[in-house]
């Protein structure tokens, strides 16, 4: 098991170096970085000095290595746009995005799994058909439309919930959280529901399909023939066997929740990383874009590692496979 983790960590490092290369290339791809920093009428000598200060006169591989070393220490340079360290900018916004994505993921799982189980077990009931119809809507409506509809209904018409922003936040050991204030929680509801809706319907449909598959298996028939209670069969035997595909999809989806909450953040003006990234794209703020790329890659790699470990925890057959041959 430990050997497996070490091997996966090693693979993760290789992935991160590759992503770092892409991030690094972005700087050169959009032209001479010095031009991005200095103004048009800067004299030549001054440009050269900036070039030397930034180490841009050194050979490219050396620059790349230096970039990686700095990135590993979370030093992504200065933002062109804000003239501040990128690390600080991201540090301020990351809690907002992680809270939003985390709440959305929990919501999607808490609602999606029971709905999936229900629609699989009571396949012919009216309520199950209703759930399936609603899930079809959830899966086919684009996020921005859902966001606008929710905002129109609950903020504009009913006036129950704020239409943008994050509400009041509390600093907790360098982490700004909106989960502890009433206005923070209220502000979280609409963006979290918007973000969760697609995931929820995806999970519902996945759990339903997997449950229907598992309920047809011999070991479920055998469990019935042994007179086990329905609850034991459905949750202990059937649901547990749907967990491996569920973990796979949830893991991938959690990554995209964090990385691609862009649209939701934009519609609700949620002060998270997505909004920062959109601003960076508009202003060709390469250091921010590169840092965002590295960060989302790290999150994906991290989640995949956790997913692999969870597989082994759930399915004993994969524990054997995980052992080095």
């Amino acid at each position: 098991m430990i050997a497996f983790v070490i091997r996966r960590l090693f693979q993760s490092v290789i992935v991160m170096i590759a992503v770092g290369l892409i991030a690094f290339t972005m700087f050169r791809f959009v032209g001479d970085p010095v031009n991005q920093i200095v103004s048009i009428d800067t004299p030549r000598e001054q440009r050269e000095r900036v070039r030397q200060d930034l180490g841009l006169d050194r050979p490219v591989p050396v620059q790349f290595a230096a970039y990686l070393v700095r990135a590993a220490q979370f030093d992504f340079g200065m933002s062109y746009q804000f003239r501040q360290p990128v690390r600080g900018l991201i540090g301020e916004r990351m809690p907002a995005t992680l809270e939003l994505a985390g709440v959305a993921a929990v919501l999607a799982l808490l609602v999606g799994i029971p709905m999936g189980v229900f629609t699989a077990l009571r396949r012919d009931s009216l309520l199950a058909s209703l759930f399936m119809a609603v899930s079809l809507v959830g899966i086919s409506l684009p996020t921005f439309l859902i966001a606008i509809l929710l905002r129109y209904l609950f903020s504009v018409q009913l006036g129950w919930l704020p239409s943008y922003g994050r509400g009041d936040v509390v600093m907790l050991a360098g982490w700004s959280t909106g989960l502890l204030t009433a206005s923070g929680l209220k502000a979280l509801i609409l963006p979290a529901v918007t973000l969760a809706l697609f995931q929820m319907t995806l999970i519902t449909r996945l759990v339903r399909a997997e449950m229907l598959e598992v309920l047809r298996t011999d070991y479920i028939r055998f469990a019935r023939a042994r007179g086990l209670r329905n609850r034991t069969i459905h949750f202990g035997h059937a649901l547990k066997n749907t967990l491996v595909p569920l973990i796979t999809v949830t893991g991938l989806q959690l990554g995209s929740l964090i990385a691609f909450a862009l649209i939701t953040e934009y519609v609700f003006q949620w002060p998270g990383m997505g909004l920062l990234f959109l601003g960076a794209v508009q202003n060709v703020d390469i250091p921010v874009m590169a840092a965002y790329l590295m960060l989302t890659a790290t999150i994906f790699v991290g989640i995949n590692l956790v997913v692999d470990l969870l597989y082994a925890a759930v399915d004993p057959r994969l524990r054997i496979a995980a052992r080095p041959a």
């Binding site: 011999d218 055998f222 034991t232 066997n241 057959r317």
Partner: protein, 348 residues
């Protein structure tokens, strides 16, 4: 404890409602199984053997349902019990073993956990006691190092060992009746013999009744006390194993026996029964076997034969009927092989 049969099935009829009408999959099946007795149920795929097992244990898949007939376990009717009471019968009083031991066990639990869970579902014992019994059962079915192996997962067992585990699971609440649905079909021949011997031994030691469903006449000959041959949802011949294997009466049963390969025989081609079993929606009006029967005559096409006693056998065939000559005379002019589809749908 009654002295009657453990399982008594009378005139069992099972139907499937489909869009194209109602299909009768079991049509008046009757048999008894006594204590310590193994009844072999044989026939081709689709004859209704497994369906009979599922109907007895109350696990017919919808839209299949019992439309008439009785199933009695130790004299008590169990065919119309509410689901909650039926669940107390399943596993506790009737156990079932399925064909494929590779897929019968939940891959995510150790075999010990699965046995303990079943024991706890039926018997008022502590966890510790359930664990002890689980290990005893594994020993009884011949698992070496049962204490250690109880903590192994199904994928860590071979096919034969898994079928032993499945048997241990079936036996864990000491049932009166075990329905074994093709228990050896998925196993190697050498392992088959071990499992058969084990079933035989457990049946005798525990005085259980066993309903052995198989299409393998070799297995039947070694294991069963009595045999019932099924064809198209009916029992066409039944009798003691020696009589039925040694001197089958029904042309279908004779065909089955002739199709058993023999080691001592000359290397001729194996006998086959020509044709295939008719589908339920187009059963012929008369005897269902008649289109494939080498000895059919006019009367076979117009009426279904009922079971009649012939020595140790009971057989459903006009070759052995009483008053056959009269009827044959009457129906002499009846139209020859007639296969209209309608009669299969007995009820609209």
């Amino acid at each position: 404890m009654t002295s009657g049969p453990v399982l008594s099935v009378r005139d069992l009829k099972v139907e499937f409602a489909s869009r194209r009408g109602v299909l009768r999959a079991l049509d008046g099946v009757s048999f008894d199984i006594g204590r310590g007795e193994v009844l072999g149920l044989v026939g081709e795929s689709g004859a209704g053997k497994s369906l009979t097992g599922a109907a007895v244990i109350g696990l017919l898949e919808p839209p299949g349902r019992i439309v008439s007939g009785e199933v009695r376990l130790l004299g008590e009717r169990i065919d119309a019990l509410p689901e909650r009471q039926m669940r107390a019968v399943r596993g506790r009083r009737i156990a079932m073993v399925f064909q494929d031991p590779l897929t019968s066990l939940n891959p995510l639990y150790t075999v010990g956990q699965q046995i303990e869970q079943t024991i706890l579902a039926h018997l008022p014992v502590s966890r510790r006691e359930a664990r002890r019994r689980a290990i005893d059962l594994l020993k009884e079915v011949g698992i070496q190092g049962a204490e250690r192996r109880a903590d192994a997962y199904p994928h860590e067992f071979s096919g034969g060992m898994r079928q032993r585990v499945v048997l241990a699971l079936a036996l864990c609440a000491e049932p009166d009746l075990v329905i074994a649905d093709e228990p050896t079909t998925a196993l190697d021949v050498s392992v088959q013999a071990q499992i058969i011997a084990l079933i035989r031994k457990l049946c005798l030691e525990r005085g259980m009744a066993v309903m052995l469903i198989t299409h393998d006449m070799g297995v039947i000959a070694e294991t069963a006390d009595r045999v019932a041959v099924m064809y198209a949802g009916r029992i066409v011949e039944t009798g003691p194993v020696a009589a039925l294997v040694g001197a089958p009466l029904h042309p279908y049963a004779r065909g089955l026996m002739a199709a058993i390969p023999r080691l001592d025989g000359d290397r001729e081609r194996l006998a086959q029964i020509p044709g295939a079993m008719p589908r339920l929606q187009d059963l012929p009006r008369g005897c269902a076997f008649c289109p494939r029967c080498p000895e059919n005559f006019a009367h076979c096409h117009v009426e279904r034969p009922e079971l009649v006693t012939r020595g140790e056998h009971r057989v459903a065939c006009f070759l052995y009927g009483d008053g056959l000559a009269d009827r044959a005379g009457d129906d002499g002019a009846a139209p020859a092989p007639e296969m209209d589809g309608a009669p299969g749908e007995a009820v609209p």
